[in-house]
Subunit: 429 residues, 3 copies
Amino acid sequence: MIDTLAHLAFDPNIVNGLQETVSQHSTALIENQFRTDNLWILVAAAMVFIMHLGFSALEAGFVRKKNVVNILFKNAMIIAIGLLTYYAVGFNLMYPTDVEPGGWFSLPSLGLSPGEGDMGTGYGDYTFWTDFIFQAMFAATCATIVSGAVAERIKLNSFLIFSGLFVAVCYPIIGMWKWGKGWLDALGFIDFAGSTLVHSVGGWGALAAIILLGPRLGKYTERGIKAIPGHNLPLAGIGVFLLWFGWYGFNGGSVLNANPEAVSLVFVTTSLSAAAGAVGAFITSYVLFKIHDLSMVLNGILGGLVGITAGADLMSPNEAVIIGLIAGAIIPFSVVFFDRLKLDDPVGATSVHLICGIWGTLAVGIFGSAAGWAQLGNQAIGIAAVGIATFTFAFLLMFLLKKTIGIRVSNKDEERGLDWAEHSMKAYE
Amino acid sequence: MIDTLAHLAFDPNIVNGLQETVSQHSTALIENQFRTDNLWILVAAAMVFIMHLGFSALEAGFVRKKNVVNILFKNAMIIAIGLLTYYAVGFNLMYPTDVEPGGWFSLPSLGLSPGEGDMGTGYGDYTFWTDFIFQAMFAATCATIVSGAVAERIKLNSFLIFSGLFVAVCYPIIGMWKWGKGWLDALGFIDFAGSTLVHSVGGWGALAAIILLGPRLGKYTERGIKAIPGHNLPLAGIGVFLLWFGWYGFNGGSVLNANPEAVSLVFVTTSLSAAAGAVGAFITSYVLFKIHDLSMVLNGILGGLVGITAGADLMSPNEAVIIGLIAGAIIPFSVVFFDRLKLDDPVGATSVHLICGIWGTLAVGIFGSAAGWAQLGNQAIGIAAVGIATFTFAFLLMFLLKKTIGIRVSNKDEERGLDWAEHSMKAYE
Amino acid sequence: MIDTLAHLAFDPNIVNGLQETVSQHSTALIENQFRTDNLWILVAAAMVFIMHLGFSALEAGFVRKKNVVNILFKNAMIIAIGLLTYYAVGFNLMYPTDVEPGGWFSLPSLGLSPGEGDMGTGYGDYTFWTDFIFQAMFAATCATIVSGAVAERIKLNSFLIFSGLFVAVCYPIIGMWKWGKGWLDALGFIDFAGSTLVHSVGGWGALAAIILLGPRLGKYTERGIKAIPGHNLPLAGIGVFLLWFGWYGFNGGSVLNANPEAVSLVFVTTSLSAAAGAVGAFITSYVLFKIHDLSMVLNGILGGLVGITAGADLMSPNEAVIIGLIAGAIIPFSVVFFDRLKLDDPVGATSVHLICGIWGTLAVGIFGSAAGWAQLGNQAIGIAAVGIATFTFAFLLMFLLKKTIGIRVSNKDEERGLDWAEHSMKAYE
């Protein structure tokens, strides 16, 4: 009997060793997943970076030859100022570490100071540095949206001051309301990747700015609205394709890890909505204008992308197609609408980012897994609150600049072009 | 004795717990690998998306100024229509779920309806959504190939109808023959990432279209062949570099997981073949024309890329260099050959995609780990079958369009340019 | 008693099975991490590839219209020749397998022949093919740097011979001194991703070449220095943004695995230094020239990127900002300095890559976790050794070419433009 048992006896060291190894494996498994997740967010950050090139090319293509250096200069400086101010204050304003859920404002510290464990798996699905750089790439996009709308007539210095404060203060405080666990998050407002928090914020800023700036000389005359065509449509086309590419990082990275089902669904809804946006704009622009208008189709793609952004993780492919189709179809009407109001927007930024941003945010209450009247109400509250706050901030800041250093170049400089007036350079020789 | 045993006694809960944890680890390990694999295919899909920008830029650069808006419009609509039709029918035609190995045709359902478990590790190395979006990005490329060949003279509406049906019906059914486990797969035909299934399919479609369309006005005159140079070679250069970049996703993603050895070998063979393609075209174009022809070198790079695509996973680096060198060297001869036949192809799409696609597919029977007479025979059968089917489909469809709504713009519109005739726009101001 | 023990008895097969499974898990965990690491280096390689498009666009934009085809041709051939020569000899020169730490030169074999186990986890954090392709993408960049400086006047054939030998011989031998475990590595010289080994090497080559070539006709006249503006600044802007994007692969991939903290820190320092470079150049160029000079800001971004490259893994965000700010601020002074010396560099390559490369390398001795007088001394030795060796090689090779086939086109060809003289083509119609 004892013999029988004896041959079953075991060496406790083996089990102890196994326990230790298995425990190390548990850690290693989490670390491996963390490594993949973190890598995806970094790659996504690089893709969002490319959107800044997309915006630059799009805006440069849609303005006149004489204002191209100015657009490129503004966009190069916006990403630089955006990254630096987000590093100085924006990141801490948007994601305060002394998080008090439901709050409106907090700035716990300046600069970047990762805490204990912020690089490891305990912090979430990526490191503190990854968190910062992915969010920093988002931050500057809202100022870039303004850049297009105010093109061809704004003073460079006023624009740089405006952008710097808009990105450093306005964007992160409002972003905190939802993504920093503030009051909009507590309310139940949904905005996956920023139809409202990024695109509408940029769009409201653009709207406030163009109201105060006024239209370009000769745009609205007694004999009607004068079309001022962009100088280089291949450049605009390159811009839109690069924006679409970058949006896979923008939306796909907003899953905040590499969860296979979630990220792949977001890729599908984003793609289908962009495609449907092109078709929607193709149809309505043909109905309205009887031509196949490239600018409208390009902006239709962007409209579809902005539209899906609030709920890219919640929609079925069918719903993504409907959202994109409507977003694209809105674009030509919206462009006509703003022109009727004599609000001059050379690149259609308000139509794409503001109007389709609102549409996409509302769509979360209408379609997808979160749809419902209560949700639709929350979405409307979020849209209104963000709209009022952003518009007020942007309007007051622009107004202050207008009354002090001025926001608009002289008529002579506008006619000669900003490239000559502000840069003494020409885009093309 | 009993004491001796007693100190060896163990708590069975420990081993039970270990068993449970180890079993969870087995699952987690598979999930972690799945997460990395799925991520790679998504990133690869985004890279293939960039190829659509590459094609747009290349084609826009190689046509005349007066047809640039048209090219951009077509390419923006192709990716949109391609994604939407692939979502509606193409994906199910190409990868039927009621797979009957060796078959010719099946359409089990419409739209996207993932089954039980299609998001998890049991489905393969990626989710259902990932599978769709990666394949969808491929689908539209073959229509884009046609776009370049028919540039500067085709009617927009006819082209859009043609492209839509080509992508929705022709491409996926033929693709199914190999990649959907159809009869070519059963035969042993090899086409890793689509030298035949994507590039030659596009090339055959282009050939059928340009036969029916006829050459551009003034291309072939009694005094000889008139060179009609592209209007913007930097744009063409950007296009080729972006296509090369996207090809890392096209070929690298076709491994269908992130297997380190396989993906890295594909990166190496793809790179070396592209580089050798440049050198091959450099040499033969200098020999033939006595100039350093940028268009030839750019198309040589593309020829090298198309050439390696069928066997990128099977070749050694040395073999990749040989395949690319020959592909690049073919390009100038092929361009001259098509010109002699008065088949006018403004961007050289038939030379790059059809001729080098055939070469690359044959090369699998000549070089690499699958080489052999039997394989070469299978490759030839696949080339012939795909060629006959695609050419017939494209020719009949184009012929039908020609006899109904017409496929070619009026001479007056061609002379004024399609930008004015179809879009009332100019690419440059 | 025995009964008590009996119910504790266990089946040794269970523990044996567990041991086996756990052992398989240990292997699988390492393989999973290897898979993620390898994937990152491949993605990074593709991003570095995009830098070649960035350089092409930047250089094409900064030269005159009449030399654009030539620039594009050179850049397309450089990446081709670079990849092929690195495959033939460069990789083995730079990472000799018969590594003798502290050595100066070794060429164990020709071509690529992976050894036993070079594809598996034992080899490092990636496969042999990944190692090759990531390094190969780096190799051609240093020749591309030369391309910009010698633009608009060098003979194509001489340039291609120079580039081929520069990439095949000079770059890898000098690179081996540090990255191949040669004498500079043994000394303690630090150069994370190549401020010296890539950028200064390219810069020294450029300097030697432009000394021997002389300035473009009409650049330095009796009445002073004539600005020769670039023909297409949007192209230059696209180039800089793409270079910035690619730098995430260049620096981020130089971690050589996907370590979350290391890669994300590198992304942050790279981003902040680039942003600060824009601001630095913005300020000093305004102070010096009283205009907002787009070329300076674009080169300031590149200066910031080159500057952080030597120590991107060692710096805090604050230090990255300082390094970038200084790098950007240097640019306008450096451009003026080279112009005073009548060293004509159409794109500012020597300022960006040589001067900021030196600055970045010295900065490792001044800032960050490796700072110290001893380190600063090592950095200086490395800079001097690499500078003397590269300059000598490049000068002798260029001198030899000058005395044999000639390196400069005729005055007539220079005036007509290289596009006509060397290619019989025009970039734009």
